[in-house]
């Protein structure tokens, strides 16, 4: 519990002051609220009113009450303001800290949490914690105070009757706790069922073409009906139990009221005077305080439930905040990459310690600066894994990776990643203009530079065909450009970094063969000193490389140029033969 909350509380920072002031004013407000009924009772004391100078009596107490009310407004408003500042500020800091933390995360960390879960943590979870925090500041402090004040007042008025509350209170508390205990597991289950319901809708909406094609509307409705019924059944059960709260509460309040009325009335009558130690006015005040005492119990149980429910959110946030990034930039790291040479020395890698299987094993590999290297292999052969070790997106489990003769772990991360530019397989464009997207590669690039890299990536032509040219707005996720266009933009973006090593991870799969060839040609002509590593499915894309690596099951199966591999590698030949048929026609057509 403490472990979960503590990392969160670090984010309160500059909002400590309002966080402390809020309960203070809340306490003042609670005090006023306790005193007001007391003075009200005094004011309408019929004895005093019946006597001479009743007006003076009213004015005196009226004055006190107005003062108290003003005081109460002031405290209430201030508390409200400070609570808003404290809770919103806390939430803002939490979001800030989470976002900054995620920016520090390594690829492995991002994989571990998954994108959608990170989004939920930064949004819904923070909102939940914010609400709980405000609740804590405002109510969790105020309710016990109100409770204590009310008890004190009750005992001041009549100690021999006030004990009734002390007896009833634990009974009420017991009932409330019992209800909560029964209900909580229900809610936990309901959350899961709710997820299933959401899932059912999501799948249906996403796959509506399949649903309609197979005429499965009724079947889907039945499935949904099941999910909806389950939510309904559990929720109804839980709410029915919660529905007991109100009657139980009323019951205890009323028992207290009846008891006090009966005993109080008897006591006053037996004392034989209306203006003795215990007056009828005090009797009604006592009942008011009784209601307050018992309401506090109820409030407290509610706050408790709310906080318990947001505890899960707190835990999920805490998990991110306390996560140490796997990969941190070394202090005084090397800030210059000498050249684009790469060396893998006995490298093995697995994605997590628990993973039984190595994704890469015993990789020894030397790539000279300026070489073009092709990597082939089937899905799951760890091609992507291999190249991700170069810019240190992951760290090798065993062995070392060197770039420009220096161990990648010794570089300042920014330096390494600036000079080893990678075009990811699952690449992303961001909402913004084409120019803005390209400038991710280099913020200070001139327009001329942008055009030049786009020409290299064979993107200039289609960009100019857009009505807005380089200022064309890219929608979120790059949905308004085709797959091939997106890939070329991503290549241009990477080129803008003027990297010493350029890695293309299957980055031209949606580009036609001719353009693909043009891009490769441009690379050899325009950036001869850059080491180019190309992962591809098509042999044509890597055929002319200086070196082709065939990976299988995380091991280097063969390494050499095209002609060598045709001779020595069975798999290479197999892939080549499979792809040759279509290529034959293609070449034919091209020459004709």
């Amino acid at each position: 519990m403490v472990k979960t909350i503590k990392p969160l509380l670090k984010s309160v920072r500059q909002y400590k002051k309002p966080s402390v002031i809020t309960p203070f004013f809340m306490a003042l407000e609670a005090l006023c609220e306790c005193l007001i009924p007391f003075f009200m009772a005094q004011m309408i004391n019929q004895d005093a009113l019946a006597q001479e100078g009743a007006m003076a009596h009213i004015l005196t107490y009226g004055g006190i009450l107005i003062l108290l009310a003003c005081f109460s407004i002031m405290s209430g408003v201030l508390a409200g303001q400070f609570a808003a500042t404290a809770s919103c500020g806390f939430a803002s800091n939490l979001r800030h800290d989470l976002f900054y933390k995620v920016q520090k995360f390594s690829f492995a960390n991002v994989d571990e949490f998954s994108t959608s879960s990170l989004v939920t943590r930064l949004t819904t979870d923070v909102t939940n914690v914010q609400q709980s925090y405000q609740m804590c500041l405002r109510i969790a402090i105020r309710v016990p105070l109100q409770f204590i004040f009310a008890i004190i007042m009750s005992f001041t008025i009549n100690a021999s009757l006030a004990w009734i509350f002390i007896v009833i209170m634990p009974l009420l508390a017991l009932c409330l706790i019992a209800i909560m205990r029964v209900v909580m597991p229900f809610f936990k289950r309901i959350f899961k069922k709710y997820d299933a319901l959401n899932n059912s809708v999501q799948e249906n909406v996403g796959g509506i073409r399949v649903v309609k094609s197979f005429v499965r509307e009724q079947y889907e409705t039945q499935k949904f009906d099941k999910a909806a019924s389950e939510v309904r059944n559990d929720f109804t059960k839980a709410e029915k139990i919660l529905a007991l709260n109100n009657p139980i509460m009323t019951f205890f309040i009323n028992v207290a009221a009846v008891l006090i009325s009966y005993l109080g009335a008897t006591a006053i009558i037996q004392s034989g005077t209306l203006s003795g130690d215990f007056t009828p006015t005090e009797l009604s005040a006592l009942i008011t305080y009784g209601i307050q005492v018992l309401s506090c119990c109820m409030m407290f149980s509610m706050v408790f439930v709310m906080i318990t429910m947001s505890f899960e959110s707190a835990r999920r946030i805490s998990e991110v905040l306390t996560k140490q990034s796997d990969i941190v930039s070394p202090e005084n790291g090397v800030t210059e990459v000498k050249d684009g040479s790469i060396r893998f020395e006995n490298v093995s890698f697995k994605y997590s310690e628990k993973a039984g299987k190595y994704a890469l094993s015993d990789i020894d590999l030397t790539i000279n600066a300026g070489e073009t290297v092709g990597i082939l292999g089937s899905t799951g052969s760890s091609k992507t894994t291999l190249i991700q070790l170069i810019p240190r997106l992951y760290d090798a489990t065993e062995g070392n990776v060197y770039v420009g003769g220096v161990n990648v772990k010794d570089y300042h991360l920014d330096t390494l990643r600036k000079d080893v530019s990678i075009v990811l397989q699952k690449n992303v464009l961001f909402s913004g203009t084409i120019k803005e997207n390209l400038r991710w590669g280099n913020e200070n690039a001139t327009d001329e530079e942008l055009v030049r890299v786009c020409q290299l990536a064979q993107a200039d032509e289609f960009i100019n065909a857009f009505p807005d040219g380089y200022d064309t707005y890219i929608e979120q996720g790059g949905t308004n450009v085709s797959g091939g266009q997106k890939q070329r933009l991503c290549i241009a973006r990477a080129l803008l970094r003027k990297p010493k090593v350029l890695i293309l991870d299957d980055s031209t799969s949606a580009v036609d063969t001719k353009t693909d060839a043009l891009i490769r040609h441009a690379f050899t002509q325009e950036i001869p000193d850059t080491t180019k590593i190309i992962i591809a499915q098509r042999i044509a894309s890597v055929e002319h490389a200086d070196k082709i690596i065939v990976l299988d099951g995380g091991k280097i199966l063969a390494c050499g140029n095209h002609d060598e591999l045709l001779q020595t590698s069975e798999i290479y030949k197999e892939i080549y033969d499979a792809q040759t048929k279509s290529r034959a026609v293609e070449t034919e057509g091209g020459e004709a």
Binding site: A54, T123, I190, V258, A265, S509
Partner: protein, 659 residues
């Protein structure tokens, strides 16, 4: 004071919400939403609702009576008791206490039933609401799904429905109960003193003003907060999705800067929204306190001056001077009154949210369903000796279109062969922009027709028209000689298999996913289909084989494996016509060979429309349609088209992208 009323509110369980904070009205609330919602509630739960209303009335009345209980105790027992001794009033005391206990008990029982039945009603209502929405949604045309963000549709089932929960289960009953108490206390005050009531009225006006100003501000900033929340969330979502790219480009600092800007804005807006929300309660409740004091002073003045009091009671009992008892009782009532007003004001925003949610739910329900005037149905058939067909109950593998001719009151059976003809078809998703113009083509049973062309050329559109996801603007489509407008949509679609580029799988076992193609398929048939689709191999290697549970659109499978499954699914459906949209995404050569082979087997013996991305598919097709800007610009076999040296030739030789 806002929290003091809290004990009447049920704790609100946190929903697993998808990225939204709290439900807040977006857009206007449709007129008549409340009436419609209530009507729906009464439709399903008439008696329960009436009973609940009864319980609420009893509950409210009981609470009112009990608020004067202490006063009567003082007046009728204590005062005479002090004067006459305990024994004289013992009986009265007992009877008052017993009466009160009785009333309390009634109140408790009424409260018990109110809340308990309400739980059933509320959850039942949500269930019906969701189910009605979903059932309706299933009848909506594809156009609806193409033009509405899926996230928005989803939130109707979660955020909006939940807002309705608050409204039905909590806000409306509270409002009803408060109204009764409010009316009763107004009556009480009017009865006793018009002068004092005027004071209360004045203060109520002040409270209403405060609610309007502060509440208005709160609502304004609530909207602002929601907007900046949405913006911040949008940014977070985009950045998290592109987190790896951010890292690769060491763009972290810029991302932080941009985020900080949005986060600060969000802080400012939400701080304001919460501030106004927080201060409303204390201000209102203290206006109540001021009212109390003001009443006491004015009451006291009137009393000392011996002023004449006018109330409704004066009609019956004549005008008297204001008594202390009346003032005291009035004060108590005024306190009640202001508390109720405060309580009601707390419900206002809840009600607005609930109505906005209900309004969006109703908007979904009011969408126009897919129309279907088709009357030609698909039936199992057997061939008679004379070669004609007749209908049968059992699956025979032979299908026929049952066509009723109104003109001469006859029914004919036409064999389902898969002969499809498009004649001069025009179409546009919106009337202003024609996507297809003058498209004509035919496919004989068993032929394979390939569509080739750039993105946006209209390939997918043609397939959307054949299964009537969209209806053509002009021209004709005939299926086995029958105008497809005459065929019942569900039967038309049952005769068309489909494999889409993006594979959608459903939560369930592998077997269930294959069986999705035909619900009455046996396990053996599903496995046979999987074998044919080359999926059997990898399925058997899954941890639980065919019983492996797939979740999250089969995220535990590779893209290629998902495609194999969707081929198996189409195979099980065993339709004479197939629509295939080949995947462009890169799968490795080996899996691709499997998928290719599976597709080829699926195509065998069927009429196939294929949106082709693979050269081998194109080459093997009986006819290739090259589309450009919604027109067929070239058609013919592979060889013929290469001969022409036109667009196809250029596409094929790689001068253009084949997408």
């Amino acid at each position: 004071m806002s929290e003091e009323k809290g004990y009447q509110q049920k704790p609100r369980p946190m929903r697993p919400m998808r990225g939204r904070g709290m439900p807040v009205p977006k857009g206007a609330i449709k007129k008549g939403t409340l009436g419609r919602l209530l009507k729906t509630v009464f439709k399903y739960y008439k008696w329960q609702m009436l009973f609940i209303f009864l319980c609420i009335i009893i509950n409210a009345m009981g609470s009112l009576v009990s608020s004067v209980f202490v006063q009567s105790l003082i007046d009728d027992v204590i005062e005479p008791g002090v004067a006459q001794g305990f024994d004289a009033v013992a009986g009265t005391l007992l009877s008052i206490v017993l009466t009160m206990s009785g009333i309390y008990l009634t109140v408790i029982i009424a409260g018990f039933f109110w809340h308990r039945i309400m739980a059933t009603v509320t959850q039942g209502m949500l269930y019906h609401l969701r189910k009605d929405m979903f059932t309706k949604m299933q009848t909506l045309p594809i156009k609806y799904f193409d033009t509405h963000a899926h996230g928005d549709i989803m939130s109707t089932y979660t955020n909006d429905t939940d807002a309705c929960r608050q409204l039905i289960g909590q806000s409306l009953p509270t409002l009803f109960s408060s109204s009764i108490t409010l009316l009763a206390s107004v009556g009480f005050m009017l009865w006793n003193s018009l002068w004092l009531f005027a004071v209360v009225l004045l203060c109520t006006v002040a409270m209403t003003l405060v609610v309007k100003i502060i509440g208005g501000n709160s609502a304004k900033f609530m909207v602002a907060q929601q907007t900046s929340l949405a913006r911040a969330e949008g940014f977070v979502e985009e950045m998290m999705k592109g987190q790896k790219v951010v890292k690769v480009f060491t763009h972290e600092e810029r991302a932080k800067e941009d985020f900080d800007k949005l986060n600060t804005q969000l802080y400012q807006d939400s701080q304001r929204a919460h501030k106004f929300g927080n201060i409303l309660g204390p201000i209102l409740s203290n206006i109540g306190n001021f009212t109390y004091v003001l009443l006491a002073i004015i009451g006291g003045l009137l009393y000392t001056l011996g002023a004449k009091n006018i109330g409704i009671s004066s009609i019956f009992f004549g005008i008297e001077t204001l008594s202390i008892g009346t003032i005291v009782a009035f004060l108590g009532m005024s306190r009640n009154f202001t508390q109720i007003v405060n309580q009601m004001s707390q419900q206002v925003s809840m009600i607005a949210m609930g109505l906005a949610g209900a309004s969006r739910a109703f908007t979904l329900m009011d969408q126009e369903s897919e129309t279907d005037e088709g009357y030609v149905t698909l039936v199992h058939a057997v061939r008679n000796e004379d070669g004609t067909l007749s209908e049968t109950e059992h699956r025979t593998g032979l299908w026929a279109w049952k066509h009723y001719h109104k003109a001469d009151n006859t029914t004919t059976y036409t064999e389902l062969k898969g002969d499809i003809v498009l004649e001069n078809v025009d179409f546009g998703y919106v009337p202003e922009k024609q996507v297809l113009s003058g498209v004509s083509l035919y496919a004989k049973p068993g032929q394979q027709i390939a569509f080739v062309g750039a993105t946006g050329a209209g390939k997918t559109t043609i397939t959307n028209l054949i299964n009537r996801f969209y209806d053509i603007a002009d021209g004709k489509i005939r299926y086995d000689g029958i105008n497809i407008n005459k065929i019942k949509k569900s039967d038309l679609r049952r005769s068309l298999g489909i494999v889409l580029q993006d594979t959608n799988l459903f939560t369930g076992t592998v077997m269930e996913n294959i069986r999705y193609g035909r619900l009455d398929a046996t396990d053996e048939e599903c496995i046979a289909a999987a074998k044919l689709a080359n999926a059997d191999d990898f399925i058997r290697r899954l941890p639980d084989g065919y019983d492996t549970l797939l979740t999250n659109n089969g995220s535990n499978l590779s893209q290629g494996q998902r495609q194999l499954l969707s081929i198996a699914r189409a195979e099980v459906a065993d339709t004479p016509v197939m629509i295939l949209d080949e995947a462009t995404s890169s799968i490795d050569t080996r899996t691709e060979a499997l998928v290719q082979d599976g597709m080829d087997k699926l195509m065998h013996g069927r009429t196939v429309f294929v949106i082709a991305h693979r050269l081998s598919t194109v080459r093997n097709s009986d006819a290739i349609m090259v589309l450009d800007h919604g027109k067929i610009i070239e058609r013919g076999t592979h060889e013929q088209l290469l001969e022409q040296k036109g667009t196809y030739y250029q596409l094929y030789t790689g001068a253009f992208e084949l997408e």
